[in-house]
Every structure is written in structure tokens, then in C-alpha cells.
């Protein structure tokens, strides 16, 4: 599914395999199949598929995964720029993120 890859080498995902306890949560939560289990440890299959949703980080109890969570939404980046805040998905008003 190559068309599901956005830009290459931009994701902030980091993984420290020495901390992994093999709980498989990252595999369960990642919506883009970034991980797989190899010998009871997680392994990153393709970092470029990561959309920085942050699901893996908050569900990795030993803290082996780190990613800068954010919304990949240009409209949010624009309004964040004008408001001087981090981009966030203000769906309640008019953005298209949902």
C-alpha cells in the first residue's frame, strides 16, 4: 500500500528496543501497521508509514516508544500559527479533521 505513505524521513518516532517487554500493545494500536513482533520484541517495519498519532507511545507502559504527537492538518498548522499555539484539531468550529 505505497499510496498510504506520505513524506519520507519526517516522522519523530523513536524506539528503544532494550526497554521493550513484548506486550504487543504497539502492534494492536498502530493504525498503519508500523510494528511487528519478532522474537517477543517489537520491531519497526516502516517508519515512513507513521502518522504521529501517538497511540503507541501512550500505550507502551515501559516507555520504549517516543513520538511527538500532533495533527497532520494544514488548516490546524495555519490557525496555530496565527494564534501562536501548537496546531490542534478544533473540530468544533470548522476544520476538516473529522
Amino acid at each position: 500500500m505505497d499510496s498510504q505513505i506520505y513524506l519520507k524521513n519526517v516522522s519523530t518516532l523513536e524506539y528503544d528496543s532494550s526497554l521493550c517487554i513484548g506486550c504487543k500493545m504497539c502492534v494492536e494500536v498502530c493504525p498503519h501497521n508500523v510494528f511487528r513482533m519478532v522474537d517477543k520484541k517489537s520491531e519497526i517495519i516502516d517508519r515512513d508509514k507513521c502518522m504521529e498519532c501517538g497511540a503507541c507511545e501512550i500505550n507502551c507502559s515501559p516507555g520504549a516508544l517516543k513520538v511527538k504527537q500532533g495533527v497532520g492538518c494544514a488548516a490546524a498548522v495555519i490557525s496555530g500559527f496565527f494564534k501562536g499555539t501548537e496546531p490542534n484539531c478544533d473540530c468544533g468550529t470548522n476544520t476538516n479533521c473529522c
Binding site: E28, V29, P31, E52, G70, G72, V77, C89, T95
Partner: protein, 337 residues
Amino acid sequence: MDFTKLSLVSPTLTSSTWSRADRWGAVRVRSSIGRNHYQLAPGLYKLGKPGSDSDVFVSANYKLSFDILRRELKGLDAWILVLQTYGVNVWCAAGKGTFGTDEIIRQIKDTGLGSYVSHKRLIVPQLGAPGVSAHKVKKSSGFSVKFGPVRAEDIKDYIAAGYKKDELTRSVQFNFKDRILLAPVEVMNSLKYLILALIFFGLLSGIHRGGYSFPLILEEGPIAIIFLLTAYLTGAVFTPALLPWLPFRHFGGKGLIAGFLTSGLMILLIAPGSQAFGMIAWLLISGAVSSFLAMNFTGASTYTGLSGVRKEMRFFVPLQIALTVIGITLLIISKLN
């Protein structure tokens, strides 16, 4: 409406069939008219006749999310725990953290969920995972979170498979149908920009060598309208629909190419042989408009991350501005000639 909020003491029934009002509501929400107020009360709901061993599904108080869930659960007896997400769907609310760890813990407590069920399992939609830390919910409430499939339509298969997902049911798709369903939202979202652009370029068309003329607006304004509308639809509808088939990974680049193509086509169709400067101007402006709208579609797409969007914007926003400025300059030059 055929369901009501469950009170703590005597839960009421929710039906798994959609009433006429629900269906009409779904249409309205998809086209983003009045979607801000499309909420239902948070709390615990009953589907069918759930018992103490029935599954508990967690949902957002965005009515469309809830309605899709109860439709897909048709025939099952289950509990539905609706979180307060202020009418925002699961995926977006999870990103903000309102569909999140703390809210689940709070709703478990407030509804007294533990007194209705004898087990300690919650099924949370996988797209809620960016907000829900399973081990923290477990620690504070004793309930263990199982992340169900991404799409509600896979829930029955998921249950039948013994609460297991495969690669497909846990991945987000972004197919033609998904993208087309988002088109009306896209069209509505940037409408304010379109109206401003129409006014600006409408007024601009009154300029001529001898000064300014209002009748000229009526004469040349329609050209501006045609190009702007074409570029708008190209960026908001055609580019999203044809996303995987357009060149470049950058959405802004896809929109730019598509904008050049459709405006080029327009030039051939409506104005072959007309003033070169004016036509080049419309080509550039159309490219910029379409590129901008396509770039905004990153918000609707399900595979673009913030780092990537920032990277593409650093390049495409200046480009869009430059194309627009050059385009407007050429347009004015063509009018003064």
C-alpha cells in the same frame, strides 16, 4: 428518537435500527451543516437486553459515531459507555485527549459501570488509542481495555474471531469512497476563502487602461468566476478523489499539478487565442488556489503526520503566495495593455 440517556439506576433501551430522523441526521452531519450540535448525552446505554456478562463498548458522544456503532452491533446485547467528547468523533477527540484515559475512568465511576457488569473488559475503538492509555485505565479503574477494530463494520468478525484483529482490521484505509464522502465537508470548509477571492477578483476585473469601469465587471467578472470555481473544485474535490494517482507525495504538489491541468483545459475550452498574459495569470492563480485547498486536505487524510505537513507547508505556502502575487500582477498588466 428511540433511545434516551441511561439513568444510573434504570438503564433504558437503545435500538440498533436507524430511524428516519437518524438517517437524515447522518446526511446533514456529513455535509457539515450544524454538526457542532450533533451530540448525545454521555453515560451508559443499553443495547438490547445486556446482562452482567455482556460486552461494554466505548463510544464518543458524537451522534454519528454512536449511531454507526449501534447499527453494527445489531442483534447483540451490549452496553455502550458514551464519553463526553463534546460532539467530536472518536479519532479527533482522541487526538485532543477528550476521548481519553481520564474521561474513561470518570465515566466508569460516574455510571457505576462496575455494578452492572461482573467482568472487567472494555472494548474501545482502536482509533481512540491516541487518547487512551490502556495500562493507566487498568491501574485506576481495574478495567482492561481491549482495542477493537478500526471500523465498526468489523466488530462482529472481531468478536467471532475471539476478540482478535488481523492486519487489515487494525489498519486505517483511505479509499476512494472515504475520500469522496469527505468532499462536501471540504467544499464547505474553505467557502469563506472562495467568497473573498470571488469578490477580490470580481472587483479586479473592472480595471482597464482608462481607469475603472463597473460595467466591465459584468463583462469580465464571469471569467474570474469560472477559473476560481474550477480551481476550487479541483483542489477540494478532484485532487482528493484522485489522490493516489496524482504525482508527488506532497498534497500541495498534487493540487498544483491538478490545478494547472484543469485551468489549462479551461483555457483551451473557453478562451483559445485570448490575451496571453491574462491566461498565464489564471494558470498560476488556479495552481495556487488548488494547491492550497489540496494541502488543507491533509487534515482529512488518515496518513499525514504533523512533521510531514509542516515540511510540505514550508515549501508550498511560499510557492502559493508567489504564484498568486505573480498571477495578480500579470492580470493587472494584461488589463492595462
